[in-house]
Subunit: 387 residues, 2 copies
């Protein structure tokens, strides 16, 4: 193991202002006002409206003396068209601050609207790194799932409905001004989403930890996320106790802080084309791919395994013997016990599409930070094993 | 142990943009320019000028097309008068961005100047929490010691020369825009300061970890700082290898991120009046007080000891038996081996002053987050043991 505990000697680390705690959704109004807003463009979805959280947010905005426009044209794997419609609505209504309340879909829609209202054009113009020129309106993001990390990250993932693929937009300026998490919102999240968003967080944590751009600043958050998930994932899915749900929420935040700064790897590089092509649940795809990608990566990250073993609840004496197998087994057991789906076939992926998906993954921005290089054949082999 | 891994359910976490890496001091110019500056007010000290770092910074500023005013009226335990003179100079010269390069003294002077040029008045008007009304000019801070944490923190500590005491200024808006650390600058730091600033970082990490305002977001950074210090403190002091020095630099950054958000405790509450009264080295005072305060705190923080034991390089099975003694012994051994001073007497503190120092510490803002309450008698007892 190198004496300096990081892969890279140079590191950058940037996170928004973070507010976290049960019952704190009621501060959404004061957060928006503090950023100078008067008319809020509130992005959320119908599930959260039904559950009462949108109502709570609206009351908080009104109590802070703000008016708002409500926009809920948000679907899972948010679409370019929904963002473009949202931006038109923002401009028509003269809004001046954006609040996103929901899972990755609502938050990425909020980010997309923020990009378009200040930069113009179509959302696909901003695909890739650092295409955003003009500063965005103030942005508050409030996650209500335990996986996306969009509330702290410099990413947005949007479905290009014409090309049937997911576009990744990456820019420092789409991290929000404030990330506000109220873990109480998990209480109304359907069981299925508790599992699939938390396994998304697990994937974020592990990919961030193994990323070639990981540093001591990101590793501490990745390992904390792993610890919290090891402790509470299965219990949260089965028993839904508030403390366990809060731990998942917290894990998602830690994992988001890690991957936003260290980026990801092959799991997400493959999950993006799959999600874009089939419109399937992102967390489920990750849960399926994670064990195979882990098996592929482990031989080149041996020196980081003892710390990960510690995060997974095992103590090790610092030697790497045995850690590889133990890490692999523990992650798989965790995914099994959480009830996550375990094959691409079960999601409706068609075997004949695998070569094309592997080809598309090679162009995804997430492939760049994979600890182990992979060509089209390697990726296809991973997909076949996960099929 | 509580299921939810934090002392407080509500947490806030805020850090500046962080850039860290050997050789990166040459980016100081592009950082200042990116913040919109044209004429930089560069605060540093004579030791760094002699060592050549100021020269390197100046060249970087010029290469970025910026002009600058150089201000080096900075002494250890920076004085109100130096800050007020600096602010007058900033205004006279028409500067528009501030860069602080140095230890806590240079950086806190830079913060103080930033406060005064935008808010007017005298620096003592801003003592305490949240007294700053108007936004500060852009601020880049570059630490060249391994202890202060001022480059990421929401604090500045200034010597009130009339009252002979240290004032703590606490406000979100005095965290800089950018924290830029180049660990290479440690290569010219005198041996004595490597030890005393690193033990300051150790004290930040331990006090942040035990603080009643600690959260999982701060704990991960506190523990990482402890790990890095356990590994490299003694070696860095004795052998001064670049990798070990870099680990100290990194430890200081992690500890700063922790305590800026969780605040501190009795060590710093006592160190501030001592430093203000005797003008002695801050890190030395902390190193002396830390073992006694640790002994005082440990009985009330038992549930956090296993994680700390792990950070200190010991593995434990999660039970608290034995951890208390082991933590205490390990910290003391680390301080001994690093050559830190071990008695207040050796610093020239006069025994008759102890009651007055204990009284002053009771009013210090750091006492608020101590895990164990303390009255004047408790504080006096700690001072006497450390005498």
């Amino acid at each position: 193991m190198e004496n300096v505990e990081s892969n890279l000697h140079h590191c950058k680390f940037e996170v928004p202002e973070i507010i976290f705690g049960r019952g704190l959704l009621s501060q959404i109004g004061s957060c928006a006002r503090r950023l100078g807003g008067r008319k809020v463009f509130l992005v959320s979805d119908q599930g959260l409206f039904t559950a009462g959280w949108v109502d709570l947010a609206m009351r908080s905005l009104l109590e802070a003396g703000l008016s708002f426009v409500y926009y809920d044209q948000v679907t899972p794997n948010p679409r370019d068209t929904e963002i473009e419609d949202g931006a038109a609505e923002y401009i028509r209504q003269g809004a001046d601050v954006i609040v996103g309340l929901g899972g990755g879909s609502a938050m990425d829609t909020a980010k997309g609207v923020a990009i378009l209202v200040s930069n113009g054009g179509r959302i696909r113009d901003f695909e890739g790194s650092d295409k955003i020129i003009r500063p965005l309106p103030p942005l508050v993001l409030c996650p209500t799932t335990c996986g996306t990390g969009s509330d702290v990250s410099q990413f947005a993932v949007v479905n290009d409905t014409e090309r049937r693929c997911k576009m990744t937009i990456m820019s420092r300026c789409i991290a929000p001004d404030i990330s506000l998490t109220d873990p109480d919102t998990l209480s109304t999240l359907p069981d299925e989403y508790v599992c699939t968003t938390a396994t998304d967080a697990l994937s974020h944590a592990l990919e961030a930890f193994f990323s070639v751009a990981s540093t001591s600043l990101t590793d501490v958050h990745a390992i904390k996320a792993v610890r919290l998930l090891s402790k509470s994932l299965v219990k949260a899915v089965r028993e839904r106790r508030p403390d366990d749900l809060e731990n998942l929420s917290r894990a998602s935040l830690h994992a988001g802080m890690a991957f936003s700064n260290s980026l990801l790897g092959i799991v997400h590089a493959l999950a993006h084309p799959i999600g874009g092509f089939y419109d399937v649940n992102h967390g489920s795809v990750n849960a399926i791919l994670l064990p195979e990608v882990l098996r592929y990566d482990i031989p080149v990250v041996a020196e980081k395994l003892p710390e990960l073993a510690w995060g997974l609840g095992h103590l090790s004496k610092g030697e790497t013997n045995g850690s590889a197998e133990m890490v692999q087994d523990t992650v798989e057991a965790l995914l099994d016990a959480s009830g996550a789906p375990r094959s691409l076939r079960s999601l409706g992926v068609v075997r004949e599409d695998l070569p094309d998906l592997a080809r598309k993954a090679l162009k995804d921005v997430c492939i760049v930070t994979s600890p182990r290089e992979a060509d089209e054949k390697d990726l296809l082999r991973i997909l076949e094993k996960a099929y």
